[in-house]
Subunit: 225 residues, 2 copies
């Protein structure tokens, strides 16, 4: 991404590779001091805000190639927790060293700005989703997003396993588990998907994307505020 080979090497040298982590392991917990960013190599991770009395709000799912912890730079302290959803390989990037390195490599610094900015843009998309879209559009958007993110990594955009539970999907999308379950059933009935537990086959990706693109399916429009 526009870095000299020598710089890539320098960057590589500060990255820590840990042994594979397993389902349920934490990368960090809310309240801990922020030291490193984490990059998913393989597997998947969820970030969530533990709320009082056991409830939790899922803030995001992180697939290979994606970065975790950007929100903690500001306060030098993690506001959320990150938990591994399946056996995963994660790289740790000590932030202070990274920052020193970025100072001497302008193009790295620029990439970092872009990365942070991209995250902000994605959050804005999510805001729009939660603010304006109905249940059906939300799940369609979620599946479209999974599809495109996986295909970016060379995986099938139409055949994949969801490492998160229905409950976690619901929390992420601001829906009840039951609603998510019903929608999976409906999407299958409508010939959009074939679903078996965590295994999803997308049969009609364009239709899903259309649905996600804020075009209510029923003739009845709601939340047009």
């Amino acid at each position: 991404m526009g870095l000299a080979a020598e710089d890539v090497e320098r960057l590589d040298s500060i990255i820590k590779r840990s042994r594979p982590l397993h389902r349920g392991d934490h990368l960090f917990r809310g309240g801990e001091r922020f030291r490193s960013l984490y990059v998913v190599k393989t597997g998947s991770v969820k970030t969530y805000a533990p709320s009082e009395e056991g409830g939790e709000q899922v803030l995001g799912f992180h697939l290979p190639g994606e970065i975790i912890g950007l929100d903690a730079i500001d306060k030098s302290c993690h506001a959320c927790s990150a938990k591994v959803l399946e056996t995963s390989a994660i790289c740790e990037v000590p932030f202070q060293r990274f920052e020193e390195l970025a100072t001497s490599i302008p193009s790295l610094q620029h990439q970092m700005y872009r990365l942070l900015s991209k995250e902000i843009g994605q959050d804005a998309d999510m805001l729009l989703l939660l603010g304006k879209k109905n249940a059906e559009e939300r799940l369609a958007a979620f599946l479209s997003s999974m599809s495109s993110r996986l295909s970016k990594r060379g995986l099938s955009p139409t055949d994949f396993y969801l490492s998160m539970s229905r409950h976690e999907i619901g929390s992420y999308l601001g829906l009840a588990v039951e609603t998510v379950s019903r929608l999976f059933t409906r999407f299958q009935e409508d010939g959009l998907l074939r679903v078996d537990r965590k295994h999803v086959e997308v049969l009609n990706l364009p239709a899903l994307e259309m649905m996600a693109g804020s075009a209510p399916s029923s003739t009845h429009k709601q939340r047009s505020n």
Copy 2:
């Protein structure tokens, strides 16, 4: 904020100050090329995503001291539009120059990371709000936020004018105008506020903050997913 006087001067020298802008003026529109960040000096600005057929989703309100345009760094192109809500003084910071400057001032670079990170953290708060909170909690959170942001700038935390319409508040909070209106009325009946058009007096700030802090008021709890 940890910058040498000399560096502050250098930063100052790249900032453009424009004549005051007026209600309805645009800082930029979605699709335009990204060149500068904007800092609100006085007044207020809203950012919004124009959707097809005239509808718009309000993405944020920006008060004095706050920065606009961070989401556009990634694609070098604005994804949303920014419109001035009242007569305002706005500073323009050409981003390319800023970036060059940051390269030679490590502490400025660090501040920039913090700024971007902070934005991400705030978006996460908003995600939580839209995903989990009911109408009452949302408006309480909105008012608490306005209160604290204004007081940071030395303005009254309990007596202020809202420069945005009820419709815009509704769009921002994912609620219908009517719901917002009813809530203002209810808050007033409950002795939390005194409201007259755009003028708001907060009579019981702690109660508002309590309400916003994801504690459902009615005994009936909902959206505990």
